[in-house]
């Protein structure tokens, strides 16, 4: 019988994965952002559980930080962007919802197939998280690639980030506080830059459709 925290860990990781997949299904941007907030909360929970299990107090700090930044601050920021800039509420995508869902599943299979064999070598109970983490990264990437609007792309990037975070926890029980802090700060900066970028796009082109960059086509 695996200890309780480890089972909880698996469940939290499952939530991260499922939310990543679900984020492919949303048509409305607010729902997408909400899903991201839930996913971040699950990631924070994972960090907390690892901190508890392995007596790594600095991971508590990390979990707290994740809650503050990824659950509260960033989604708030994104909602504001959507509201203030008047971004159309619908997610505009290249792949249909059904295709996205199937591709998401395929990505999950791929990461299990590729990373699965590697995981046992890391002789740690939570190493099983690795395929999940990779799948989340890939799904985030797919989100980034397949959605038209800049806001949704930012969400894709954030999902990827969650995946990287999860991988870090799975392999090393935290990438090391300093690294994590750096990562979190990075993320915030990224969000702010994205915000400014969107603002500029809005001002210059009157819309925030990354598709308009096609004008560059030679």
């Amino acid at each position: 019988m695996t200890p309780l925290p480890v089972q909880a860990l698996d469940i939290a990781a499952a939530v991260v994965l499922v939310t990543a997949w679900v984020s492919l299904l949303h048509r409305r941007i607010e729902a997408l952002v909400d899903t991201y907030a839930i996913q971040s909360a699950a990631v924070a929970l994972t960090a907390g559980l690892v901190a508890y299990e392995y007596r790594a107090p600095d991971l508590y700090l990390l979990a707290g930080l994740t809650v503050a930044v990824n659950v509260v601050a960033l989604p708030g920021l994104l909602r504001r962007v959507v509201r203030v800039l008047g971004v159309p509420r619908m997610v505009n995508m290249y792949a249909s919802v059904r295709e996205s869902a199937l591709i998401g599943l395929a990505l999950l299979l791929l990461s299990v197939w590729v990373v699965g064999p590697i995981a046992p070598f890391a002789e740690i109970p939570s190493a099983g998280l690795l395929p999940i983490a990779v799948a989340v990264v890939l799904i985030g990437f797919f989100l980034l690639v397949s959605r038209r609007k800049a806001v949704t792309q930012v969400v894709g990037l954030l999902v990827m980030n969650n995946g990287v975070f999860l991988a870090g926890i799975a392999l090393t029980y935290g990438l090391g506080l300093l690294v994590e802090l750096g990562l979190a700060a990075n993320l915030l900066v990224l969000a702010i830059v994205a915000r400014i970028f969107l603002q500029r796009m809005k001002e210059s082109f009157d819309h925030v459709d990354a598709d308009a960059l096609r004008a560059l086509e030679g």
Binding site: L110, D211, L213, R214, E217
Partner: protein, 688 residues
């Protein structure tokens, strides 16, 4: 930091400063300063190269900046100057200085901004070429090589408004890049085989390479460097790019840059690989022979002055390759002394060509610039409009036709010597091929002289053949000055070739292992290999003396004979009218006998047509016919056009990937990532 090191640093920095000065802001004074600084830097580099060639050396820790903790930063850059480098640096820099000086005045026709680009570009071009010479590692060499290619491309398309310039530039760019690809292959083979990327390391380890790798590296280098040098059949860019570029750029490219192709070939074939089996040598000899003869034949058929000179570059590269090939042949036969003789001819001819070809190009530039046409049939009579330029062109024409007392004679004479000396090698195949090639060389020299009678005579002599030629202005003094420097070198190296041979002694020793003259004090010709046991007469000086004596005698005889009473009458005008330029011998007419003789080679398209009669000024009726002959190279039609259009099509296809869509770019990354994951699993995953 010793003197050569300091000078090299000063020269490279100076060249770069000149480039910045040119690019910085337009303005006539600044452009002039840019050219002058560039010329000065070039001259400093020439001096540095001489110092190295007479025995000084860079510290083995190459350029070290004063004040840095260790001298390593620039060593890491990989600068290294061995005698071969120094010799080519000398070749590059002497001509570079003269051309940059001549450009001060020549470029006055361009508007200021464009002049600045030209000035900066040319100085930077020189810096890149100097770096190619002194690069001691594969990396630095390739970077400098590519820089050289790209800068020269931009210089070729300087007149980018003209469609033909752009087309020529494209062809040049495509062929140069294909060539660089081949060079890269060669170096990758050498570097992976020997585990080193520096010349010294590769040279040390090259003995252990398998014959297959050595052959492949040599062939790739021959194709790559041969393309840059303009060796047949990879010369296609040359007659296109040289006419398209501004003439001073052509002078720099044709006189100097293509030599670096030879430099690369010598570096790989003789220095790094240390020679090879005799079939390498026969291949180089065959290509050299074809280049020499083919180049001169198409030059004769060409009436566009700049294209004519471009074809002569092909010819001279062929002559140099004959020397290189002969050297390789003698080395493979185990005769380093003869190899040194042949290589001395090749190195000397390299330098000589780097002197007289820019001289000719600058002269042609003055003629083309002042008349506004490149067609020789529309020039004529320019000797009265620009006597200095005509004199310089004449010197260049004498030199390239290998006539004493100019430098071209010395190197071709040495080459003949080495060919004839080849009869002592004992290899029947070598003897047969060398005697055949001596015939080819003789024919080439003769035809070159034939061609330059045309080039000089039609362009500069007789009456102007067009309004523009009659109104041609006087070219600027700096142009004549630059030509003067080059002409002086042609004469000095023709009368006292010992100077050049002394400078070539160290690279010769290093490449062939023969004990060639060991310093300035030795008369190198007597120290040169001496197959027959007697001494090789120092012919150029003797010939010069004979010529001078002959002239003296003629002058005395003329003085002694009372000049006959001069009886002036009007010139006989064929019963028509005052002689006009239409009665002059034309370039087409001059070349026609050779074209007729070699119909099967040229396969000309001839057309004779009746043109509507005009009423001449004397009132009668004349029937007029126009005769046109078009000669195109057989190889150009399919090979180069094919390569160029194929590349364009490929670029179009690739440019479709450049959609400008962020999603597309992200998608590429995504697909690549997935692909790599699959690859990792398929190849490396051992399964759970």
């Amino acid at each position: 930091m010793n003197l050569p090191e300091l000078l090299l640093l000063v020269a490279l920095t100076g060249g770069s400063a000149a480039a910045i000065l040119g690019f910085a802001r337009p303005g006539a004074a600044r452009v002039r300063a840019s050219f002058l600084v560039g010329a000065l830097a070039s001259a400093v580099a020439a001096g540095q190269a001489v110092l190295v060639l007479i025995g000084m050396a860079l510290p083995t820790v190459a350029l070290g900046l004063p004040g840095t903790i260790s001298a390593s930063p620039l060593l890491a850059l990989g600068i290294q100057e061995d005698p071969l480098s120094a010799f080519f640096l000398l070749v590059v820099s002497v001509s570079g200085a003269a051309i940059l000086l001549a450009s001060v005045g020549y470029t006055e026709r361009y508007v200021d901004g464009r002049r600045g680009l030209l000035a900066g570009g040319m100085s930077l071009f020189w810096v890149a070429m100097a770096l190619v010479c002194v690069a001691g590692t594969v990396f630095l060499f390739l970077v400098a090589w590519e820089a050289m290619t790209l800068i020269s491309y931009f210089l070729v398309v300087h007149d980018h408004e003209s469609e033909s310039s752009r087309r020529a530039g494209l062809l040049y760019l495509v062929m140069s890049h294909a060539a660089t690809g081949a060079i890269l292959v060669s170096f990758v083979l050498l570097a992976t085989g020997t585990g080193s990327t520096s010349w010294t390391g590769i040279a040390a380890g090259a003995g252990g390479l398998s014959p297959g790798v050595r052959d492949a590296a040599f062939l790739a280098a021959l194709v790559g460097f041969g393309t840059k040098a303009g060796m047949v059949p990879f010369h296609g860019w040359l007659p296109e790019a040289h006419p398209a570029a501004p003439t001073n750029v052509s002078a720099l490219m044709s006189g100097v840059m293509i030599k670096l192709g030879l430099f690369g070939l010598l570096r790989v074939a003789l220095d790094l690989l240390g020679g090879g089996p005799s079939w390498w040598a026969y291949l180089v000899l065959a290509l050299g022979g074809v280049s020499a003869l083919g180049g001169v034949l198409y030059a004769i058929a060409e009436h566009d002055l700049k294209r004519l000179l471009a074809y002569h570059s092909v010819e001279n590269i062929g002559i140099i390759l004959l020397g290189v090939g002969a050297a390789m042949l003698f080395q493979s036969l185990g005769d380093p002394v003869l190899a040194a003789l042949a290589l001395a001819a090749a190195l000397l001819h390299t330098w000589n060509h780097a002197l007289f070809k820019p001289l000719l190009f600058l002269g042609a530039g003055a003629a083309v610039g002042e008349t506004g046409t490149r067609d020789m049939e529309r020039m004529g009579g320019l000797i009265r409009r620009m006597p200095g330029v005509a004199l310089g062109f004449f010197v260049g024409a004498m030199a390239i036709s290998a006539l004493p007392p100019f430098n071209g004679f010395v190197s071709e004479w040495l080459l003949f010597q080495s060919f004839f000396a080849g009869f002592t090698t004992g290899s029947v195949l070598a003897e047969i091929s060398l005697s055949l090639l001596a015939g080819v060389l003789a024919l080439t020299s003769g035809l070159a002289a034939y061609c330059f009678v045309k080039a000089f005579g039609i362009t500069f002599l007789a009456r102007p053949r067009s309004e523009a030629a009659a109104r041609a202005g006087r070219p600027p003094a700096s142009l004549t000055g630059g030509m003067g420097i080059l002409a002086a070198f042609c004469l000095v190296l023709g009368v006292a070739p010992i100077l050049a041979l002394d400078l070539a002694a160290r690279p010769l020793r290093e490449l062939t292992g023969a004990a060639v003259g060991s310093g300035v004090s030795l008369g190198v010709l007597s120290a040169l290999p001496n197959p027959s046991g007697g001494s090789l007469p120092l012919a150029p000086a003797i010939v010069a003396a004979l010529l001078a004596g002959g002239l003296l005698v003629a002058w005395i005889v003329r003085r002694l004979r009372r000049a006959p009473a001069v009886d002036e009458r009007p010139l006989w005008d064929c019963g028509l009218d005052a002689p006009t330029s239409r009665m002059e011998y034309t370039a087409a007419g001059y070349a026609q006998p050779v074209e007729l003789l070699l119909r099967d080679v040229y396969r000309p398209t001839e057309r004779a047509e009746e043109v509507p009669p005009v009423r001449p000024s004397w009132g009668g009726l004349a029937r007029m016919q126009r005769y046109t002959v078009v000669i195109t190279e057989p190889i150009r039609g399919w090979a180069y056009e094919g390569v160029a259009s194929g590349t364009v099509a490929l670029s179009r296809a690739i440019s479709r990937f450049q959609s400008g869509r962020i999603h597309a770019y992200l998608g590429y990354i995504f697909v690549t990532l997935i692909g790599l994951l699959l690859l990792v699993r398929a190849v490396g995953g051992s399964g759970p």
